[in-house]
């Protein structure tokens, strides 16, 4: 299938999301020739610094180089004046982060997570086999197709492993990524002489698992520095359920005092406290986030983990499980404008309109 490199061939349906530090837009569009829906990332290059520009270039380069069912491909990309358009297939359920913030504030269910993480690990296995480290595995970068399979994206921060030499370690510290810090592995954050390798991605998978299950990324409210000290000391992120909820699990510990202080918090989180994740899920997270790198397994080994066993049951319909979330599909989208270029002008126009409801003067 050939995707044309001109805005004429794409009809915009809506603006789905922002991306890249809110400097880019993700547009839902219809490819005129094939009548299929696509997602188009639109960047205005004028606003970018050289470094940001390089990051986008890298991302397109990597997307074009990699080919795997669980990796978001780039169908085509083109530049018109100062606008860059990157066309990729539509991921109906958008990103896991969007799913959580829209419908699952308390986190996704275990079976859904196991499906997503299996796909992520497959993608990682492929990326590692090509000699790269992904370095930014997180819910925001896991996109879910309308049929339920997940794709990994966010290749901006990918780094290639040195191919020669006995020490396959990387020391490069990704700058411009202060929003990714919570997912980074302790050995990456430490920046010491030992460096890090592809197992750093596995740690990120563990943190992402917690993010998907808890609805919020571990260390979200902590300052970066205390997050660093905790990770370096080997504190393992936890799934929150009835077994790990500290204040709830044992009656023998002076409960009166505890209840006295934390009543509000408990009421708030009743739903979280009462649920229970399987032991294999807890073990999976623990294994991924293991501080000792030699114990931490590779993606291939992790795929055989008992956490993924329930997937093999037949008749699981992810679309049903993901309700009330509804994917973008052919049936529920309407076309807005003639071509992609128009929506930009339109959204800019909206910015210019100032509405002052208080200033009515009778």
């Amino acid at each position: 299938m050939l995707y044309e490199t001109s805005s004429k061939y794409y009809v915009t349906c809506s603006v789905m999301n922002n991306c890249f530090f809110d400097k880019g837009k993700v547009l839902l569009a219809r490819h005129k020739t094939s009548r299929t829906l696509v997602a188009i990332k639109h960047f205005n290059l004028e606003e970018f610094t050289q470094e940001q520009y390089d990051l986008i270039m890298e991302e397109i380069f990597f997307m074009r180089q990699l080919k795997h069912p669980n990796i978001l491909p780039c169908l085509t990309s083109y530049v018109i004046n100062f606008d860059l358009y990157v066309v990729s297939p539509l991921m109906g359920f958008t990103s896991c982060h969007d799913l959580i913030s829209a419908h699952f504030q308390d986190g996704l269910s275990e079976i859904i997570i196991s499906f997503f993480l299996r796909d992520v690990l497959r993608a990682l296995d492929y990326i590692h086999s090509k000699g790269y480290i992904h370095r930014s595995v997180k819910a925001r970068h896991i996109l879910v197709h309308a049929d339920g399979h997940a794709c990994l994206s966010g290749f901006r921060y990918m780094y290639s492993l040195p191919k020669c030499g006995s020490l396959n370690k990387v020391h490069h510290f990704p700058l411009h990524t202060s929003h990714n810090l919570n997912w980074f592995s302790p050995e990456l954050l430490e920046q010491n002489i030992e460096g890090y390798d592809e197992k750093s991605d596995i740690y990120s998978v563990g943190v992402t698992a917690c993010e998907l299950a808890n609805g919020i990324v571990p260390f979200a409210d902590t300052s970066t520095t205390s997050m660093l000290t905790e990770k370096v000391r080997g504190v393992i992120p936890q799934l929150i359920d009835c077994t790990t909820w500290f204040l709830h699990d044992d009656d023998q510990y002076s409960k009166d005092e505890i209840c006295y202080s934390n009543e509000n918090i408990e009421n708030e989180n009743q739903k979280i406290i009462s649920r229970k994740f399987s032991n294999s899920f807890h073990a999976f997270v623990e294994l991924c986030c293991c501080r000792n790198i030699s114990i931490r397994p590779l993606p291939k080994q992790l795929l055989n983990h008992s956490f993924f066993k329930p997937i093999r049951r037949i008749g699981i319909n992810l679309q049903e499980l993901l309700q009330p979330a509804v994917p973008y599909t052919e049936t529920n989208t309407t076309e807005l404008h003639e071509d992609v270029a128009v929506i930009n002008d339109l959204s800019y126009d909206f910015d210019d309109i100032n509405i002052y409801p208080e200033e009515w003067d009778f």
């Binding site: 990387v170 520095t225 660093l228 393992i236 799934l239 510990y253 202080s261 501080r291």
Partner: protein, 445 residues
């Protein structure tokens, strides 16, 4: 300090404190009762302890946390920094105006260094990240890329005071790369020496210290210079003989030659008891390469250390030289490690202490529950305790601990990160950090 005063102290920080009634059960009993010793207590080897004379206060400059001293120069100290936003390690050169005034051309040199470094961006040239000025303290902070040390320190700590040829070859290649970039930008470094060649964590060489460097005029017809302030042992004969003007690029070639000679033999090609004798011997320009240096390296050094600047190799000639092109055989047994010259392993720890103090001061730690140690150990059964997690105790917190005889469980409830931090590390024995790793096993017990 007793419990009541502690509570008073913590109140303004909105830390809620609960103390179990049965604090009295002394934890040493557990050991006697036969509770497994390696469950919680770990002996600290004496070499693991970093002794600190005074308590370090957490210092912040802008968004950076100040860490350990990396080195010291005539202008001031070089310290480690941690960027609090990106958590990137940096180094800072602290310049005191008072001290700078005492050094001839001190302030001018700093000014020039900053102006030059801002223009430069290359893999083998040190990067200046930011310049901060504190008018009140009359201090200037040059924030740079983090390097773990220089070739000079490394040599001094290596057994033979020399590098094996293949390792020196690797560094020399990078030096020439960086030098070529500088010359292409019209910058003459003038002070190339092992002490100014730093290494990053991954072993990339960085040319640093542009204090005496000179940028040629934009439209200068050639590379003629009139002044130099570099280290005497690395100066070429034309300067030793007191020439009024000389070719700038050739100075860097000569000092690179001396540097290479030094890296391989561990000695200077020219010696003298004092600067006059040294310059006399350099001025004669006669060198005898030791027997140990064989072709093709011999002819390269010979070409770089030619007395007449006109005869001396250019960068192009060096690039095409057989030794430069060759790939000396790797001898992994003879490698000089970077780690060896600094207690790099512990460097990280000290900055963690500093951060601890900082966080405690802010009152970020939210203490929700305190259990007796006995209960702690009940819980700890079935938890995995990894050796690599052992960290040295934080003194200030330990003192608090000892005085109160309680254990803090710090629990970021709000954060939902659900991590337990155990601050019960004491001066002599310590409980390692862990979280409740495997609740299943605990239930079985």
């Amino acid at each position: 300090m007793n419990v009541a005063t502690l509570e008073k102290l913590l109140k303004p920080l909105s830390i809620s404190l609960f103390i179990c009634k049965e604090v009295s059960s002394p934890w040493m009993n557990d050991e006697k009762d036969g509770v497994s010793n390696d469950m919680g207590f770990h002996r600290v080897e004496s070499d693991q302890i970093i002794y600190r004379n005074k308590k370090k206060r957490c210092k912040l400059i802008g968004k950076y946390v100040m860490g350990d001293v990396l080195g010291e120069g005539s202008y001031g100290k070089v310290k480690e920094l941690l960027d609090m936003e990106t958590l990137c390690r940096r180094a800072v050169k602290i310049l005191k105006k008072r001290k700078l005034r005492r050094i001839p051309n001190g302030e001018q040199n700093v000014d020039r260094e900053i102006r030059l470094l801002k223009r430069l961006k290359h893999r083998n040239v040190i990067e200046l990240v930011e310049v901060l000025i504190n008018e009140e303290k009359q201090k200037m902070y040059l924030i740079m890329e983090y390097c773990i040390g220089g070739l000079q320190d490394m040599l001094e700590n290596s057994p033979g005071r020399t590098f094996p040829q293949w390792q020196a070859h690797g560094y020399f290649l990078q030096l020439i790369d960086g030098l070529e970039y500088l010359h292409s930008k019209g910058i003459i470094h003038k002070d190339i020496k092992p002490g100014n060649l730093l290494l990053t964590l991954d072993g990339t060489l960085k040319i640093s210290d542009f204090g005496v460097a000179e940028a040629l005029e934009m439209f200068a017809s050639d590379d003629t210079c009139f002044t130099t302030q570099g280290s005497p042992a690395f100066q070429p004969p034309e300067i030793a003989n007191g020439a009024e003007s000389f070719s700038g690029f050739k100075i860097d070639i000569w000092s690179s030659g001396v540097t290479l000679y030094y890296l391989i033999t561990g000695e200077y090609p020219f010696k003298g008891d004092n600067v006059y004798r040294l310059f006399e011997s350099i001025g004669q320009g006669f060198i005898s390469l030791p027997e140990l240096i064989v072709e093709p390296l011999r002819s390269l050094l010979d070409g770089m250390l030619k007395k007449e600047p006109g005869d001396r190799f250019t960068l192009q000639q060096i690039r095409h030289h057989p030794w430069f092109i060759s790939q000396p055989r790797k001898e992994p047994n003879s490698i000089v490690f970077i780690e060896k010259f600094k207690s790099e392993k512990y460097k990280r720890e000290t900055i963690l202490f500093v951060i601890d103090d900082y966080l405690l001061g802010l009152g970020i730690l939210w203490i929700t529950s305190i259990l007796t140690l006995k209960k702690l150990f009940d819980r700890s059964i079935g938890m995995k305790v990894e050796k690599s997690d052992l960290k040295l105790p934080n003194k200030s917190i330990c003192n608090l601990m000892l005085n109160c005889k309680v254990l803090f469980f710090i629990h970021y409830l709000k954060v939902r990160s659900f991590s337990f931090v155990n601050f019960s590390r004491t001066a002599k024995c310590k409980v390692p950090m862990y979280s409740i790793a495997n609740p299943k096993k605990k239930k079985n017990l």
